[in-house]
């Protein structure tokens, strides 16, 4: 996060022909050309993009990871970020969780006709900042415009490739009985930052999204601990409960959490309480879960806590052969309960 602030780019908006995006900007004709030339190509300038081919041509040697994600968040601007940095950090983080060092990204927009050019520019600047912070390049992309009412302002897709760190071997199959479960920071911040803006729920908080790139953090840990890091995952939609249920099902091992160890920001916890939501199921965007060999857990946590993304990192539980295939939790008051998959959306309670 500190890096993000340090590298904040301030670009004045170039002069565009229109105040809003029009259908013509996605037609592939002159307006598209102008938008790209005076906006997109300029801000993302790099050798591969400058080739202006149908695709980017490059060499990569070694084992690679490839990932793709689409971003349809509403509202598009939220405390702590916007859809632009989310789209970069999301794909960067997915690659990072594979043990890869993210390198090249594609960037594709689907924009609703009438979308203000100033907001588009603000998003482009955020994308540039996020890409620079993560050390990745945008090397190819696409822009489409749909009629008013046929989309919701702006959707973004990013795909990316990265080189796997030779020291990494991250797979759920490596998880063993006795492994320690670590979370890299406070949970549920992103989801609650968004909830606080949703119509009908506006409440005053200073909760900000945790959106951040995790690639530098993860690479540092992989360099230090190699294959003793058995599993990594960024728990976005569905929160940490969903990730743990998935891997419990895949490995048929039991995952046992201790509720009092879960790091949750006090305001986030209060907002969850008020809306009847369980922070275990709320989305995160700059957070990861690690399942590591017991012997390295202390050192792993110590190193992670030195990183700006990991200051609130905590051990939250362990892997066991009891209750195979299920996630259980010791409650704050000492009882034991199951943590199941979430069904549908988490809906606020009614009384």
């Amino acid at each position: 996060m500190a890096d993000k602030i340090k590298m904040q780019l301030q670009c004045p908006m170039p002069k565009f022909d229109f105040d809003v995006i029009t259908l013509g900007h996605g037609s592939g004709g002159l307006l598209t050309h102008r938008l790209l030339q005076s906006g997109v190509f300029d801000i993302f300038k790099n050798d591969l993009l400058d080739q202006q081919h149908d695709g980017a041509i490059f060499e990569m040697n070694g084992k690679m990871a490839f990932s793709s994600d689409s971003y349809v968040i509403s509202p598009i601007f939220f405390p702590g970020g916007n859809i632009g940095d989310l789209a970069i950090n999301g794909t960067v983080n997915d690659l990072s969780m594979c043990g890869a060092k993210p390198k090249y990204l594609s960037l594709a927009f689907i924009i609703e006709e009438g979308f203000p050019m100033t907001e588009f520019w603000e998003i482009l600047v955020s994308i540039k900042n996020a890409a620079d912070n993560a050390g990745v390049q945008i090397v190819t992309g696409d822009t489409k415009v749909v009629e008013k009412g046929k989309g919701d302002k702006i959707y973004i897709n990013t795909s990316g490739v990265g080189l796997i760190n030779p020291k990494a071997n991250i797979h759920h199959k490596n998880i063993q009985d006795g492994d320690v479960i670590i979370v890299s920071g406070n949970i549920a911040s992103h989801g609650m930052a968004i909830m606080s803006l949703r119509q009908g729920l506006e409440f005053e908080t200073s909760i900000v999204s945790d959106t951040a790139n995790l690639n530098h953090t993860v690479q540092t840990l992989v360099e230090a601990f190699g294959t003793d890091i058995h599993f990594l995952r960024d728990p976005t939609r569905g929160g940490i409960a969903s990730v743990l249920n998935e891997i419990a099902e895949l490995t048929q091992l039991g995952f046992y959490l201790d509720q009092k160890l879960l790091p949750v920001d006090e305001q986030v916890d209060g907002a969850c309480e008020m809306l009847g939501l369980d922070p275990l199921y709320v989305a995160n965007e700059g957070l990861f879960l690690a399942v590591v060999k017991k012997e390295i857990a202390d050192a792993f946590l110590a190193l992670l806590r030195k990183d700006s993304n990991g200051t609130s990192a905590a051990v939250i539980g362990e892997v066991t052969t009891d209750h195979g295939g299920k996630v259980m939790m010791k409650s704050r008051v000492g009882g034991k309960r199951m943590v199941n998959y979430l069904t549908g959306e988490q809906l606020p309670r009614i009384c």
Partner: protein, 362 residues
Amino acid sequence: MKYLTEYRDPELVEEFIKEIHRITTKPWTLMEICGGQTHSLVKNGILDMLPDKITMVHGPGCPVCVTSVSVIDEAIYLAEQPNTIMCSFGDMLRVPGSKKSLLEVKAEGADVRILYSPLEAVQLAKQNPDKQVVFFAVGFETTAPANALSVVHADQLGLDNYSILASHVLVPPAMEAILSDEENLIDAFLAAGHVCTIMGINEYHPVAEKYECPIVVTGFEPVDLLQGILMAVQQLEKGEYKVENQYARSVQREGNRLAQDTIQKVFAVSDRVWRGIGNIPQSGYEVNDRYKNYNARLKFMIDLPFAEENKECISGDIMKGLKKPKQCPNFGTKCKPEHPLGAPMVSSEGACAAYYHYAGEE
């Protein structure tokens, strides 16, 4: 989170557990009325910490669960009317009616909106004068004041495009129905703190007297519930049957007079069919004559056939405390939150959903 953490204090919890173990000499069956209490007991793993002699059964206090299939059908009928915005609390959307749920009619194109307060629905009516806006007014005495207030507001604004589908239910008649059932197993009640915050505790004295049944009003946190259980067991062991108030930080003897006045202004007590239990006389609220223009049943002249409940769902036995969710042959197999046979598996306060989500091993 001051005022909450104190009631989740593990040391206090341990002290109460020890004291409950110490004083319990006979087997007792306690019913917690409210789904919020049920969820807290199951979510915090408290059931396993209690003495084997104490059985907690889960009462009918989940408004989503007790709303009958016929009323859901009425809501769906309204949602399917042209130029109509059907507004509801989120929980109601997934509850199956006789053919489909509100969520399904929403997916088919009906304008169904999840709101967090009925006053937002009044706002919607104001903003959409060319549409009819209906609020699905479910809930116990707890949600009734806000729903009543929405009608008063709409009336003050002169809105002729707002109405409510009232399906309010009342706690004391349900308690009496359970206690007078031939198969009744209940020795004591933990009454619901939120309902009593509105209504006070006076109406429970006749019930405790008539059925010689201790009633303790409790809050919803672990310490609240355990203290309530302790108070109820103390009474049972001594052969007493009083109404006691554990939740004094919220509940006053007289309740909230202003809220009660608002309820009385808009609603009249009426018979109500409870899902799984059947008709209980004088156990609900309906919009009164003075505000009949805001009664969606009259406004839209709803006349639907009575809908049978799914016979495979044993929700009646669950809500009367005769069976536990896991005793249902369909629990977790044919009936899951994603395809529920009945409401207790849907609602965030339903007993079956509580067991499905939190009670992994028994």
